[in-house]
């Protein structure tokens, strides 16, 4: 960790304390004391989050432009009401079962486990969902909400294109207009998904500003939402953004961990020793982790994109390489920023992990020590992509390959009686062009 980052981390921790005090005296009517609410057990601050104002410790919150504040409240009111309603739950479960194809299998990767010579590794097969990734879970949930709220126009941002495809898919099914913002750089490297979205009837708008990746597509989606706020629902693709998005997206994704827990109990008769997932914004990871957060015997490990190596500065390892506490895209979280507070462009071979912020709950799970965050490089992820493909006949997305690459390091340090569940968040078809280009082949 460079010294300047170390310093800023220390300083930022102080800021976090300030922030906690802020929360206490900030509520306008003075009647709420949110920082102290919902924190029944001080020794386990990772439980019962977020609080009513959307905070995970000092992280999260709602840092949005005034034009969007009403829409965010409307969204939260509808989500909180419907999420507790049996009718909505039944609709959501039915869609997950019959449209998405859940439950997704939990597959014991026997050959790969043996080759690594340590823990037994189970893959949570989100790649087998309709449209090929976990993103469809929260897209279905948010689309149901949009329908209930009478919104006629759907917007989304996308990085790898998986969230854009999932959103275009649910919009097509509901007959809603759909606009997907996508960084021009990502349009280039995820051409297949761009065409899929177009076939589904969505309009894909390339974003030419800034780093021309996921961060800029979120900026542009927020601008669209402010302009068309009356009829538009913003289907956000991960656990970032202002309250209620981190909690809401987690709620829709938490089916991953609930299923995985039941499945491992059925197959192995006990809980896993570790759960591992890649972390872009962090939705597939929170989806798997949420159910296991209270199970303290289970190690929780998030894997970030180390890009060309964290020493090169070209990476997206916000948590594991000493990012700063800051405010980006409506929430306080761990970000890659310079000493002037400007956002630093991230880098990763996988578009879905190429983001300089991260979900606020991940920042909190790290700060309170409940989860660990590590990074793996582009090269390590590519090697894992090839490894799993050849050993198990399963071609993972490059995002998911980051989680696999870490498991390749972790499993050999564990015994054969121990169990790892790794989230295979998506399939690799969309990345074949990228891998082929690295091999010098044009497909």
């Amino acid at each position: 960790m460079p010294d300047n980052m170390r310093d800023s981390k220390v300083r930022n921790t102080k800021e976090s304390e300030v922030r906690l005090n802020d929360t206490i005296d900030s509520s306008i009517d003075g009647s709420k004391n949110s920082a102290l609410m919902n924190q029944g057990d001080d020794s386990k601050p990772w439980l019962n989050t977020p609080d009513l104002e959307g905070y995970f410790g000092p992280f999260g919150g709602r840092y949005a432009a005034e034009t969007l504040m009403g829409a965010l409240q409307e969204l939260e009111d509808n989500f909180e009401k419907l999420w507790r309603s049996p009718g909505f739950q039944a609709d959501f479960d039915r869609d997950l079962q019959h449209y998405v194809g859940r439950p997704s299998p939990l597959y014991f990767a026997e050959r790969w486990s043996e080759a690594l010579g340590g823990a037994r590794i189970y893959l949570k097969r989100e790649d087998l969902n309709h449209t090929g990734a976990h993103k469809i879970n929260h897209a279905v949930g948010q689309a149901l909400l949009a329908k209930h709220m009478g919104k006629t126009r759907i917007i989304a941002e996308t990085g790898a294109g998986q969230h854009g495809v999932a959103t275009a898919t649910v919009a097509a099914r509901l007959g809603l207009e759909c606009i997907v913002y996508m960084g021009a750089e990502d349009v280039r490297r995820q051409a297949l998904n761009v065409y899929r979205m177009k076939l589904l009837g969505a309009k894909v708008v390339p974003v030419e500003h800034g780093s021309r990746t996921l961060k800029d597509s979120i900026n542009e989606a927020m601008r669209d939402w402010a302009t068309n706020v009356d009829n538009t629902f913003y289907i956000l693709g991960t656990v970032v953004g202002p309250r209620p998005y981190p909690k809401m997206v987690r709620a829709f994704q938490s089916v991953i961990g609930r299923e995985a827990k039941q499945q491992i109990l059925a197959q192995a008769g006990r809980l896993p020793d570790a759960v591992v997932a890649c972390v872009g914004g962090g939705s597939n990871a929170m989806g798997l982790f949420h159910e296991f957060v209270p199970e303290e015997s289970v190690r929780i490990i998030g894997v970030e994109a180390g890009g060309e190596g964290v020493d090169t500065g070209r990476h997206a390892a916000r948590l594991s390489a000493g990012g700063k506490t800051g405010v980006l895209h409506g929430n306080r979280t761990c970000i890659m920023a310079d000493d002037d507070g400007q956002i630093i462009e991230s880098h990763s071979v996988s578009a879905g992990l190429d983001y300089p912020g991260v979900g606020p709950e991940h920042a909190w799970l790290k700060e309170c020590g409940r989860a660990e965050y590590v990074d793996v490089t582009d090269d390590e992820a590519l090697a894992a992509f090839r490894g799993l493909t050849q050993m198990e006949g399963i071609m993972p997305a490059l995002e998911s390959s980051h989680a696999l690459a870490h498991v390749e390091k972790l499993a050999p340090t564990m015994s054969k009686d121990e169990i790892i569940i790794v989230n295979l968040s998506g399939r690799g078809d969309k990345d074949i062009h990228t891998v082929a280009a690295i091999d010098g082949i044009e497909v």
Binding site: S8, R11, N12, E15, V18, N21, D22, T23, I24, D25, S26, S27, I28, D29, E53, G61, R62, Y63, A64, A65, E66, T67, L68, M69, G70, A71, H209, G210, K215, D216, I218, N219, M222, R223, A226, T227, N228, V229, D230, K324, T325, G326, V327, L328, H329, G330, R332, I335, A337, D339, D340, G341, Q342, I343
Partner: protein, 270 residues
């Protein structure tokens, strides 16, 4: 009494409305920023909203986005913006300066350091687009202690309940955003704006200034006749962009001045 209040009191006594130009500090370049501020005052600006450059201005349209990018390319950062205000204050001790921007640069600088330095530099108000009053608590008290106003936005979408809450936290003036959208959007419905401003006045005695969509003398006049002031940004920043594009950054002051003078004349002869 704060410079902002003094300014509005004086205007009211004269039966005039505030003309409040915005530009991004460091655009078209760092060398002309103080000159731009003085030039704006000479052409009739009552208050200056000085933008703090930020890499991800999510509430701005493309014109002001590019201003942020130019300023960042020129090496402008928050510390330099604060120094710039201090330099401006060496020769102007009356015109209020409001820093406008996004929260992250302030958060990373540290709230305490920011408030101290801003007070020392002679900053009069702060407006953070992505800092709603709910989250402003302690920062607001730190600013108030130094006599710096924290200015909040009210939008067409703001509910009455929120208008009440925002007004109870606001000082300086209320910034009414005239339309749904980002800066630089086109259409302005004067009648609607007028009704909203009247409505907001039920909740506060603070001056209400209106921004977004004001582009020339007639629109500045129409808006200010139903409010306490007109805030203009994108149309001026376009002039700055043209100056930058032409490779004549020093011409930006004159180009912006011309636009402002036309608005001033239209507003005063209303």
């Amino acid at each position: 009494m704060s410079r902002i209040q003094t300014c509005f009191d004086a205007l009211q006594a004269q039966g005039r409305k505030a003309l409040i130009p915005y530009f991004t500090a460091g655009d078209p370049d760092k060398a002309n920023t103080v000159a731009m501020m003085h030039g704006m005052v000479e052409q009739g600006a009552d208050i200056i909203e000085l933008g703090i450059p930020f890499s991800d201005p999510t509430a701005d349209g493309v014109v002001i986005q590019q201003a942020h990018l130019r300023a960042l390319k020129n090496g402008a950062n928050l510390s330099w913006v604060l120094e710039t205000v201090k330099t401006f204050r060496e020769t102007n001790s009356t015109t209020p300066v409001v820093l406008m921007g996004y929260l992250n640069p302030i958060e990373i600088m540290g709230y305490e350091t920011f408030v101290e330095t801003a007070a020392d530099a002679g900053v009069d108000g702060v407006l953070c687009v992505d800092l709603p009053p709910e989250a402003a608590g302690r920062f607001r008290s730190q600013l108030v202690e130094k006599d710096i106003d924290l200015i909040f936005l009210i939008a067409p979408t703001t509910t009455d309940e929120r208008i009440g809450k925002i007004c109870s936290q606001a000082s300086g003036y209320i910034y009414y955003v005239s339309l749904k959208g980002v800066t630089g959007s086109a259409t302005l419905n004067t009648e609607e704006v007028s009704q909203r401003v009247q409505h907001i006045r039920n909740y506060t005695d603070l001056p209400v200034a209106v921004g977004f969509g004001i582009s020339d003398g007639p629109s500045a006049r129409a808006i200010s006749s139903t409010s306490d002031g007109a805030i203009v940004g994108s149309v001026l920043v376009k002039e700055i962009a043209a100056a930058a594009q032409a490779g004549q950054p020093e011409s930006a002051v004159g180009r912006v001045g011309e636009k402002l003078a036309a608005m001033r004349t239209a507003m005063d002869n209303g």
